[in-house]
Every structure is written in structure tokens, then in C-alpha cells.
């Protein structure tokens, strides 16, 4: 009986290890919603809503076989830990690299498909300008000078030259994709001067470019 249990447990462990995961991090540590993170010497911030789109994720095999993750559009929502699992079927150890679109490309943005993770009820759809918010970061910080101290960044847009999606590829050195928000909030954004963005444009493109360089495989 004991052997059986160990077998079951080890199977479970093995399965869990091979899952492909996504994680929002702050200086390398997984972010928890409503937890305060220090900013500078005397300020801090907390996130209340973190969302992000990944799409067309593909694993390149060590041989010739590639593996496309289905469905092709994946919305990560910090409130729903099951959304961190990008794929639970495949064993990542059999693949050498991962490619994906960080955000959604212009084809998906304008397809008129409203199914699954593209459903406007998920709060990522921009009705006035067909398209999706690719990355949504909402929270509050002592640095924001308003009464509520709220910050709200809706980063999106698929038109050149201000597109906010990127086709990326990484060697698969681990099974977790991490998006670290420290650089964006500590170096790029000064919450004291700017705490809201709700339209596509140059700033959205700049912020997305910082995010792009804040991704790693671990």
C-alpha cells in the first residue's frame, strides 16, 4: 500500500514538474495580490489586478517535432491561479526552445472572434478602438499623489509604430515563464508623475518594450 502511495505521489510530482507555467514576479519572487512591495526607501505599492495575454505558444522539439499549445490565446489573470498553467500535458524536458507572441498580434486583435479568453466580459476589450489591452496592471501606491493612490495601466495597441505585441523566443532552460514587474515600476514609470494609461500610443509602446525585456525562462 505504501509503495502504491509513493508511486502515485511521485507520478503527481513528475506531472507537476513538467507543466509549463507563467508567473508574475517582483525581483524574481512570485507576486501576491494585495501584498505590499517596497519602492525606493520609503514608498511601496500593491497590485490588485494583474492580467496579461500570451498567444501562439509553440515548443520546439529536440528532434523535429514542434508542439503548439491550444487554445492559441491565453489570458493570465493573477486572481485565477489556474490561468498560470499554460499547458499541463506536455513534458517541457523534451523541448529545446519556446516561442510565443507576448500580447496579441494584429490578426487576433481585428478578427472579430470573441470566444474564450477573447470574450469582452473579461475586461480586456477596447470597444472604441477594436482591440485588446495586452497587459493590465492595477493597484495603489503611496507614490500616487491622488486621494485614492490608485494606479491603472492598460497597455495595448497593435498598430505600427506603436504596437505592443512581440514575437519572442527563448531556450527552454526551465518550465516557468516569468514576467518581472520591478523594472517597469521601479525604473520606467514614476508613479508620482504618471499613474494612468488607458490608450494605445507611444507611451504604451515604450512600457511594453520594457516588459518585453523583463521576461525570462526559469
Amino acid at each position: 500500500m505504501r509503495t502504491f502511495l509513493v508511486l502515485i505521489l511521485s507520478l503527481f510530482f513528475f506531472q507537476a514538474k513538467s507543466q509549463l507555467l507563467f508567473q508574475f514576479t517582483w525581483k524574481g519572487e512570485p507576486i501576491r495580490l494585495s501584498t505590499y512591495y517596497p519602492l525606493g526607501e520609503k514608498d511601496s505599492l500593491q497590485f490588485t489586478d494583474l492580467k496579461c495575454y500570451l498567444s501562439n505558444i509553440e515548443l520546439q522539439g529536440k528532434g523535429s517535432k514542434n508542439y503548439q499549445i491550444s487554445p492559441s490565446v491565453h489570458l493570465i489573470n493573477a486572481e485565477d491561479s489556474s490561468s498560470f498553467v499554460l499547458d499541463s500535458v506536455v513534458d517541457t524536458q523534451n523541448f529545446k526552445s519556446i516561442s510565443f507572441t507576448f500580447g496579441l498580434d494584429s490578426i487576433i486583435n481585428t478578427s472579430g472572434e470573441l470566444e474564450g479568453d477573447l470574450d469582452p466580459i473579461l475586461g480586456m476589450y477596447w470597444a472604441w478602438n477594436t482591440g485588446y489591452i495586452h497587459y493590465k496592471f492595477v493597484g495603489n501606491s503611496s507614490l500616487v499623489p491622488t486621494a485614492t493612490h490608485l494606479f491603472d495601466f492598460h497597455i495595448g495597441g497593435y498598430r505600427k509604430p506603436n504596437k505592443t505585441y512581440f514575437k519572442l523566443e527563448f531556450p527552454l532552460t526551465g518550465s516557468t515563464l516569468e514576467l518581472d514587474l520591478y523594472q517597469l515600476f521601479n525604473e520606467k514609470i514614476n508613479l508620482n508623475l504618471s499613474h494612468q494609461l488607458v490608450v494605445p500610443g507611444k507611451l504604451a509602446h515604450e512600457l511594453a518594450s520594457v516588459l518585453k525585456s523583463s521576461i525570462r525562462v526559469k
Binding site: G112, L114, P120, I121, Y125, A127, W128, N129, P200, K202
Partner: protein, 342 residues
């Protein structure tokens, strides 16, 4: 006798239902029209889907306080626009900043709204439904409302084989109605298709020649729009601060560019321009006839107009524009308020 009545009644009901099932969706492609833009993924669409879309289009339950429907601002008899109102008003009498556009031959449109902000017909209806100045309805709330209605659950099941109403199903339902609004039976169409006994009058013919020379570059036949965005010489209204296409593209060059509207049924879709600032069609012609030469705020096509038009020419042009009126479309019973029990 009573049993016979009952049997006859059920026979009639099932016959109507079967008739609806087998009857075709009213959308069609007129033979003189260009290639379709809208991709019909789920052909055959079927009459039931069209009827469901029609019911939704005319149902005020789609607005927050159930006071206005899509049809409130898109009336059939005027080419599905809101006549008499320069800009449209929505819930609680809130005033918008734009003239509600006509809904004509939408299956050939790549972009929607005056600024082209919406890129797909299936996604268009989300805007007026959720816009606080229009129907001000939360989509989640609306889905709850519809899913709580046995009538709609049954209708969606019959049309799409699914009684759980979701955003994509709701949008496809509405699009099944709006895509069907094809207008191609005006006098102009009959002349072009060489229908027997129909011909332009001398005045209409002169107007048509003038039209082809000066207007057709933007209001391109047979849809009477090239679907491009142009600057037509109207100054910015400081009350609205509407920069048109630039709001969407963020490009300075797109400032004050608005989508070229179709001229089909233009006789009845007054007032005119994106903010409805011109009341009469003859004044629109006057506007284009009197644009100062050298005005930098106009697109190149408008600079080619030999101005001003003579009084005769203006009348000729107006006479031609009236040949674009399609009464079969404006009074098509398929497109009007749906009869039947709720």
C-alpha cells in the same frame, strides 16, 4: 370540433416553425457589387438566426433601463440612421458627439464608425451597448438578463443550437441582422442593370456625368463609398473636439479625417456629415461647391472639383443623388419591427 381546431392550430404552428427553419437568410450579393468583405464562417446562416438578430435589434432590453433599442438611433425608413438629430441621444437623454451612421451594405465594410475604430462587424454592437452615452449596459448584466429569459434561451437554442447565451453568440446574433441590410434596388441600380423601362431623366443623366467626374473618387460606385478616410473641409467643432481617425491611429496626418459614408438613400438620411452639422442635402452640395481653393484642410480629391458648381449643375447633382433612394429597402418588411408574441 374543438379537437380539430387544436390539431389545425398545432399543424399551423409547426408549419410556421418548419418554414422558418428552411427559409433562407435574406442576405444576398447583388450581381453588380464588388467582392464581399464579411466572411460568412457559419453558412448557411438560416432564417432563424436572422430573425433572432432582428428581435435583438428592436429590443430595448439591450439598454440599462430597457428604454432604448438599436432601432432608436437606427430607423429603417431613413436608411437606419437617426434623422433630425445632428448627434444622437442615448439613455437618460444623454447626448453623444456624432451623427449615427446609416446601416447599409455593411457586409462590404472593412471598418465601422466615423473614425473606423471598429474593425469587425461581429464586434461592432458592443460599442453602442456599453457606451455610457448610448445604451450604457454592462455586457455581463446583459448576458444575465438574456439568460434569464426563457424566450431568448429558446431562440438562441433554435438559431445556434446552444441555449447558453455568451458574448460571441449575442454578437453573431445581432450581426446576422445587420449584415442582411443590403440596399441595391434604387433607380440607379435598375438603370445600371438595364432593367426594362427604367432610364435616367435628362437631368439625372447630367447629374450622373457630373458625379462620375467629381464625386466618384471618394463615393465610389456601386457602394458609393471607397471606404477610405478623408478630410472634407469642415472645421473642428470646439464643443466636440472630435479629431476623427487620429483618435484611433495616433497619427497627426489623420487629424480630422472621417470615414466616407455611402450615398445610398442619402435623400432620407439627413442631417449630414459626421456631426450632423448640415441639415439639407443641397447645402452639402453647396459645401463642396464653395470650398475655397487652396484650403489645406481638404483631401486631394476635393481639390480637383471645378468650383463653384453652377445652379443648374447643383440641381442636376441633387436629381442624381435622389436616384440612390431604394424604397424596397427602406420599406422592406423583413427589416421592420418584428411581429409576433413575446
Amino acid at each position: 370540433m374543438r379537437i380539430l381546431n387544436l390539431v389545425l392550430f398545432f399543424a399551423f404552428v409547426s408549419y410556421s416553425f418548419v418554414a422558418l427553419l428552411t427559409e433562407k437568410h435574406p442576405f444576398y450579393v447583388p450581381k453588380h457589387f464588388p467582392k464581399l468583405v464579411y466572411q460568412f464562417k457559419d453558412v448557411p446562416q438560416g432564417r432563424l438566426r436572422f430573425e433572432l438578430g432582428r428581435t435583438l435589434f428592436y429590443d430595448p432590453a439591450l439598454s440599462r433601463d430597457s428604454s432604448i433599442s438599436c432601432a432608436t438611433c437606427h430607423l429603417q425608413y431613413t436608411g437606419f440612421t437617426h434623422i433630425d438629430h445632428p448627434v444622437s441621444h442615448g439613455i437618460d437623454g444623454r447626448i453623444g458627439t456624432r451623427n449615427s451612421p446609416v446601416m447599409i451594405n455593411l457586409a462590404w465594410n472593412k471598418f465601422f464608425h466615423w473614425d473606423g475604430g471598429v474593425a469587425h462587424l461581429n464586434a461592432q454592437a458592443i460599442n453602442p451597448i456599453t457606451n455610457p452615452k448610448e445604451m450604457d449596459m454592462d455586457i455581463v448584466e446583459l448576458l444575465k438578463r438574456l439568460n434569464n429569459s426563457p424566450f431568448y434561451r429558446q431562440r438562441f437554442y433554435a438559431a445556434f443550437g446552444d441555449s447558453v447565451i455568451t458574448t460571441p453568440l449575442l454578437m453573431r446574433g445581432i450581426a446576422n441582422f445587420s449584415v442582411a441590410l443590403v440596399s441595391a434596388n434604387s433607380k440607379y441600380d435598375k438603370v445600371i442593370l438595364k432593367e426594362e423601362g427604367v432610364a435616367f431623366s435628362e437631368q439625372e443623366k447630367r447629374g450622373y456625368d457630373l458625379f462620375k467626374k467629381y464625386c466618384n473618387a471618394c463615393h465610389t460606385e456601386p457602394l458609393f463609398t471607397s471606404h477610405a478616410f478623408k478630410k472634407n473641409g469642415l472645421e473642428l467643432d470646439p464643443a466636440f473636439k472630435d479629431f476623427g481617425r487620429m483618435t484611433i491611429t495616433e497619427r497627426k496626418a489623420d487629424s480630422l479625417l472621417f470615414k466616407i459614408p455611402t450615398l445610398r438613400n442619402i435623400e432620407f438620411s439627413f442631417p449630414y456629415m459626421h456631426d450632423g452639422r448640415i441639415q439639407k442635402l443641397k447645402d452639402v452640395i453647396e459645401h463642396y461647391s464653395s470650398l475655397p481653393t487652396g484650403n489645406k484642410n481638404v483631401s486631394k480629391e476635393l481639390k480637383k472639383i471645378k468650383k463653384p458648381f453652377s445652379e443648374e449643375q447643383k440641381k442636376d447633382l441633387l436629381a442624381f443623388l435622389k436616384t440612390l433612394t431604394d424604397k424596397e429597402f427602406l420599406y422592406n418588411k423583413d427589416f421592420s419591427f418584428p411581429k409576433g408574441e413575446r
